[in-house]
């Protein structure tokens, strides 16, 4: 029962995978990728939790170290920024696809390409 946060992140990961496979709209697939990103971040941060640990900041409330593992948090900080970059670049690519083919559905895009060729 103590592993419930792992299960939460797995379920969010499952939702993301379900979204990628079931949805036909490319933008919805991109958002699903973003959801998977969030799930992985939750999982990595949860790996560093120490029982009764505080946030890893020396302050007036916690003058001596009684901290959770700060290394996963630093890595997740990197991952969040990369996620923002991926989302921005992916969405502008989708704007291009929509301008060229008039649709974001992979099947319709394939049909349009065959007609053009």
């Amino acid at each position: 029962m103590s592993n419930i946060i792992y299960y939460v992140s797995f379920i969010i990961l499952g939702i993301g995978i379900y979204g990628i496979v079931s949805q036909k709209n490319l933008f919805k697939q991109l958002i699903s990728l973003s959801i998977i990103d969030t799930a992985v971040n939750i999982f990595i941060v949860a790996l560093g939790y120490v029982e009764w640990g505080e946030a890893p900041i020396y302050s007036a409330i916690t003058p001596v170290a009684n901290f959770v593992d700060p290394l996963p948090q630093a890595l997740v900080l990197t991952a969040i920024v990369i996620g923002v970059g991926t989302l921005a670049l992916g969405s502008i690519l989708l704007v291009h696809i929509n301008e060229k083919y008039g649709s974001l559905d992979p099947d319709e895009i394939r049909d349009t390409r065959e007609v053009v060729e």
């Binding site: 103590s2 592993n3 419930i4 946060i5 792992y6 299960y7 797995f10 379920i11 990961l13 499952g14 939702i15 995978i17 379900y18 979204g19 990628i20 496979v21 079931s22 036909k24 949860a46 790996l47 560093g48 939790y49 120490v50 029982e51 946030a55 890893p56 900041i57 020396y58 302050s59 007036a60 916690t62 003058p63 001596v64 170290a65 901290f67 593992d69 700060p70 290394l71 948090q73 630093a74 900080l77 990197t78 969040i80 920024v81 990369i82 923002v84 970059g85 991926t86 921005a88 670049l89 969405s91 502008i92 690519l93 704007v95 291009h96 301008e99």
Partner: protein, 241 residues
């Protein structure tokens, strides 16, 4: 049919993760920090002997920032952060190029609203001030260059929503370039003074003071400016089309 397949694929992934992966990782909260690298980093003694750090008392440590995550991001793994900033830079450039290649140049116009315009004038300086506070106090409190820069960019977004004439000028690009160059220059200065790229060459001071932690606040200020200008550019590229 598609949904059935989707449920099957997601179920296989979940089965693999729960059945094969969960047994080999430690249970939640049951982590032995002494065996991990983070123990040395928390006590700021990766090269010296173990010494307990105390708030407002310990001084002249190898890294003086009170926020341990900041000390990892900007001090121990600073080269990694330089790469991360470069990735964000590449993404912003890609968005700019792709947005300028669009054939239909349609600018997104919003409906101007009196209440939003006037309240933006009141709230915007506070948002910018708060963003600057976040990245200046990045070594003392939660936050740092990336959240601070994002807050500033969100202030710019609010300005765009309220005012149709507002445009992000080239100043943002110049700020971004000089801030990115400043980060590299700090790294090269560390190389000239300490012999290692991006080494912390300034005195680290007492843990918990505003003027402590050597180059960490300087680097985080650069990152804050860079991320703020970059994300404003991305937002404006997506809007101008």
């Amino acid at each position: 049919m598609r949904r059935v397949w989707a449920i099957l694929v997601a179920g296989v992934f979940l089965y693999f993760l729960v059945g094969q992966f969960l047994p080999i990782i430690p249970t939640f909260g049951n982590v032995d920090l002494f065996t991990r690298v983070a123990f040395d980093i928390i006590n700021k003694s990766t090269t010296t002997n173990y010494n307990a750090v105390e708030f407002k008392k310990s001084k002249d440590l190898e890294d003086g920032s009170a926020n341990v995550v900041t000390s990892i991001v900007v001090n121990y793994r600073s080269f990694d952060t330089l790469g991360e900033v470069s990735v964000l830079f590449c993404a912003a450039i890609g968005v700019g190029i792709l947005a300028s290649m669009l054939k239909s140049k349609k600018r997104i116009e919003f409906e101007e609203h009196k209440v939003l315009m006037i309240s933006t004038g009141i709230v915007l300086p506070l948002i910018l001030l708060f963003g600057a506070y976040i990245f200046i106090h990045g070594h003392l409190s939660p936050g740092g260059g990336f959240p601070g820069g994002t807050t500033i960019a969100l202030g710019i977004l609010l300005l765009m929503l309220s005012n149709n004439e507002f445009k992000v000028t080239d100043v943002a690009k110049h700020v971004e370039q000089s801030a990115g160059a400043g980060y590299v220059v700090i790294g090269l200065m560390g190389m000239a003074i300490g012999g290692v790229f991006l080494i912390n060459f300034l005195p680290t001071g007492v843990v918990g003071n505003l003027f402590s932690a050597g180059v960490v606040p300087i680097v985080y200020t650069f990152i804050g400016f860079k991320v703020g200008a970059e994300l404003s550019n991305v937002i404006s590229d997506l809007r101008e089309g």
